[in-house]
Amino acid sequence: MYDWPLWEVFIRARGGLDHRHAGSVHAPDAHMALRHARDTYTRRLEGVSIWVVRSSDIVASDPAQDYSMFEPAASKIYRHPTFYVLPEAVDHM
């Protein structure tokens, strides 16, 4: 029997923090998805702001392509501060 489409729910726990993925809900439309997200994921004051987005609208990277997507970053160690060995006197830099 018919069920509503799936929406992903993102919640900002308090001011100053990013929205974080909390889970998903089924809802007939965006407005009701917000209501359902509130009733499902913020029963204990877990949030001050909610985003919802249709699950089918999310584009995700393919884990099978991990090596080409993310591994190139692994060799660029000069992007990290610890790459540079400085004299002790200025090492707090």
Binding site: D3, P28, S55
Partner: protein
Amino acid sequence: MYTTELGKVSPLQDGAQEDPERLAAFETRVAADEFVEPKDWMPQAYRRTLVRQISQHAHSEIVGMLPEGNWLTRAPSLQRKAILLAKIQDEGGHGLYLYCAAETLGTSREEMIDALHSGRAKYSTIFNYPTLNWADIGAIGWLVDGAAIMNQVPLQRTSYGPYARAMVRICKEESFHQRQGYDLLLALAKGTAAQKAMSQDALNRWWWPALMMFGPPDEDSPNSAQSIRWRIKRETNDQLRQKFVDATVPQAELLGLTIPDPDLNWNEQRGHYDFGAIEWDEFYAVVRGEGPTAKERITARRDAWANGAWVREAAAAFEAKRAARVAA
């Protein structure tokens, strides 16, 4: 990301051979306690086992609303009514978290609900027992939620990411469930003779079914080894059951209640309680849907879903009209 691409069937069908190289890489990752995420490659048997386990867990949360709901309209104080309603509502929420986690494996909630309603999917046998007096609500919180927590705490580190994350949330929220049950029974323990009798009656009826919640003994649980290797399960049925008995016996003493097991004894040598034999014939009968209230439970769920069909269709039709207006 929990996003799922429903309906997309993996090219590898059941019964087909898994690629041994991929399988070995997968086993290594899981053995190293790495998390598996929805779009990662996984063996078909792993996917199937997880869908079965997570959806059973979700169904149990949803069906589990019914025996407690039976006393919601008769809760004897406004505070107990609010507490019970909040608890049952949490269970509905936990069912939702778990359906979401299972949906990431490519099975829609509709399919899972349909499997429940047609009797293909199972749920925890405990909810096929009736709630006959108010103390049953306390006993469910104390024993049933207590047993569930023992099962669930290790699952926070289960290998499948969405399942583990759902369990973290669930365990955090459930910490009040067992306490409220015990608190309810403490009030009865301080109460009248009739109230104390209610508690003992509830313990007499819920004790054995609670022990059965951990599942068949290890020697009759053929898939346990594989599930433990895959980190879908983290301790065996018998280990968890023993842990539960050891924790619960002193709690019963504090309530002034007698556990209905003449063979229950502290074993100094083992450092654990010995307990009597469980009637597994009853367990399998209840699994088959022959429990005292199994028919009522499943009928209530089927009716709720069927009676809600027009509501779900109406809201979808409303949205379709709105979308059409926007497009026009």
